[in-house]
Symmetry: C2
Subunit: 137 residues, 2 copies
DNA sequence: CGGCATACTCTCTTTTGGGTAAGTATAAAT
DNA sequence: ATTTATACTTACCCAAAAGAGAGTATGCCG
């Protein structure tokens, strides 16, 4: 994709009526958060997961945030939640088509992050160096 | 892209060593926030913007958040900041290559959001209906 | 009888995000 | 002399987000 194609696509996107625009922005705000993105990634890799499995795969997420994020995703139609009436309880989560679509869309961002994290670390240290140099005298 | 290709790509991504994995996750957390994404989008469309222009284009962002987000983006090497020594002050922001890369990567998510926001609204109302039905008796 | 496992839920506290409003510098315009 | 424009910075404050930790239900296993 050329820069101009990109520019054009984004312009087209903003040229729709402002109500849609706000909806889309709100949706991005909702969906583009750390835990949602992580869960989408994990659920893409392993198709079907139990609650505890997701928790372990996320590393460091609290139970509260996990339930909360999963509920929001369920509400938005990104995952399905299947409860088995057994004891101890068993609940399985899997992506819907909609969720898989988001995964595809977001895949580019993961790839970008993996390709560029070194450059960003470099930019960060350069920046603090520059700031330190400035305040030196 | 097939579902399996996607799965494989994401698996490859997680198979790198866990240190890189955490870095990438941290980067996603940093960059995947509402204001950053909006600013990236605006700066892609109009190439070069002054502070005030960005503020107006964002609609409803406070000066504080605007400076704060722009500073973080500068630190990460996503934008350049050019100060002109004039009065009243004039400062121009534009995306770096890195920033433009992020824009490209994230473009897919905007498109997805635009294509699917109706489905999500529908899923939401279905969900609340289901919940209401449940709690009815 | 006493754990253990699982998927929560609830409460309490801390942290963060983000808004508001005021202050700063300075040249040009009125 | 006062206002205007611009891009901030700083201080203060509130509400929302998130973490920590305990509690719950229940059948199975020893």
């Amino acid at each position: 994709m050329t820069d101009d194609t990109l520019r054009q696509e984004l312009r087209d996107l903003s040229d729709t009526d402002p109500k849609v625009d706000r909806l889309v922005e709100e949706l991005i705000g909702r969906v583009a958060d750390k835990w949602t993105m992580l869960l989408v990634e994990i659920l893409t890799e392993r198709e079907c997961c139990r609650f505890g499995e997701l928790g372990r795969a996320c590393g460091g997420i609290s139970q509260k945030m996990l339930t909360q994020t999963l509920r929001a995703m369920e509400r938005d139609g990104l995952v399905t939640r299947t409860v088995y009436a057994v004891v101890p309880p068993k609940v399985e989560y899997r992506l819907t088509d909609l969720g898989l679509g988001l995964s595809k869309a977001f895949c580019g961002v993961w790839l970008w992050a993996e390709e560029n994290y070194e450059r960003i670390e470099l930019a960060r240290s350069d920046y603090t160096e520059r700031r330190e140099a400035k305040t030196k005298y």
